[in-house]
Amino acid sequence: MTFPTMLMTMASGMLRTILLFILTLLGSIPFGMLVVACKKSKFKPLAWLTEIYIAIMRGTPLMLQLLVWYFGPAYLFGWKVGKFSIFGLEYRFIALLIGFVLNYAAYFAEIYRSGIDSMPVGQYEAAEILGYSKPQTFFGIILPQVVKRVLPAVTNEVITLVKDTSLASILTYEEVFSLAKQISASQTSFLPFVVAGVFYFIANYVVAWIMKALEKSMQYYK
């Protein structure tokens, strides 16, 4: 296998890695907000359930969670998930998405929560005196400031996600890391790992650059 052929083969894996990465963010960043809302709910059973969910997501390995999402339905309920698909997506990919989104949403939720809790009570009181409604206060005054406060922590999480996508290989999702392993074994070459490493490095560099630009765009105030 020539180097260009190898690159071409691995490019499809890179695309799958990027796809998983983007879909996970698109799902977990908003879902994390819903999780915070549930955790802060006045309806206590919901708040407790949410707390348990967060504890499990953060307390067990993501790899294990992926296996549970994929094999769980078959073992627990005898469902034949292999044939199951939504919008032409095979269950393998759906299980991956569920696993990644739920896991990352839990981490994002904790980050949002600490951001919300760090807001000075004076902001709420000033808004209350001026007559803002609760939603106006949250979305207009609190949330924009929380976004700025949590951005560095979110960046860390996003960079971890770039690397965590390699865990998808456990469900034989052919992202860049799985392909590197396969090609390396079949060609008895170390080169695929170098390519994968360079890919992750560049991906993280791009992510860090985007997040820095976002942080910069909010530096007009302290």
Partner: protein
Amino acid sequence: MANTNMEIENNQDKIVLKMENIHKRFGHLEVLEGIDLTVKHGEVISIIGPSGSGKSTLLRCATFLESIDKGEIVYLDKKAVTTSNSGKVIYSPKAEMKEIKQYFGLVFQQFNLFPHWSVLQNVMDAPLKVLKRDKKEVEAEARVLLERMGLADKADSYPCNLSGGQQQRVAIARALAMKPEILFFDEPTSALDPELTIEVLKIIRKLAEEKMTMVIVTHEMSFARAVSNRVIFMDGGFIVEQGDPEQVFGNPSRDRTKQFLKSYSEQA
């Protein structure tokens, strides 16, 4: 002419705020033990007293940031809170409270400006979003207000780039933009250096001359003496003494007031 004079006189008799027998507890701590406070239109009232005497709590109860445990609060013609014979404290329905809340503004010790908005946005946003007023009108008024606060050139600045005194003046403009009937100040200059204190006090004095109804918690004794129509001395959750500033400062009738004023002049 006669008519307008009459109107002004009528206005001066208008009672803007009436608080009666206000009680407030935090756990077992009795912080307000039966406070009565009536504020007439155009009156400027200073509240002085040692730290922990309940001054902030009184303002926070008046502005509904804290709920009361007993008593009555009426703004103009609208009852906000009453206490039934059985001792149950009843706040008016939400819609009515929303209207009542537009009668007052509050200026905080820590300014509490919205840091992510420019000065102009800070002043304009509530009239736009809460009162749903026309943008052009609101902006014109906001600029006039900033001009009056001596901040015309700061409209596009962000709070973090202003001095404390400038921030507090923006906070005053933000409160005035809602056209309150009465404005409360909770130690508006306590977070400021002496030079910056002066510029904020000047603004409040100007408002007093324009007959803005105000209740000011302050430790600036000479300011309180010069500006207010009435001074209230609070201690331990009670109003110990109140009256004309010359009387309270020049010839206090209670020993506790004398002690407090003496300790204050010694500090200064």
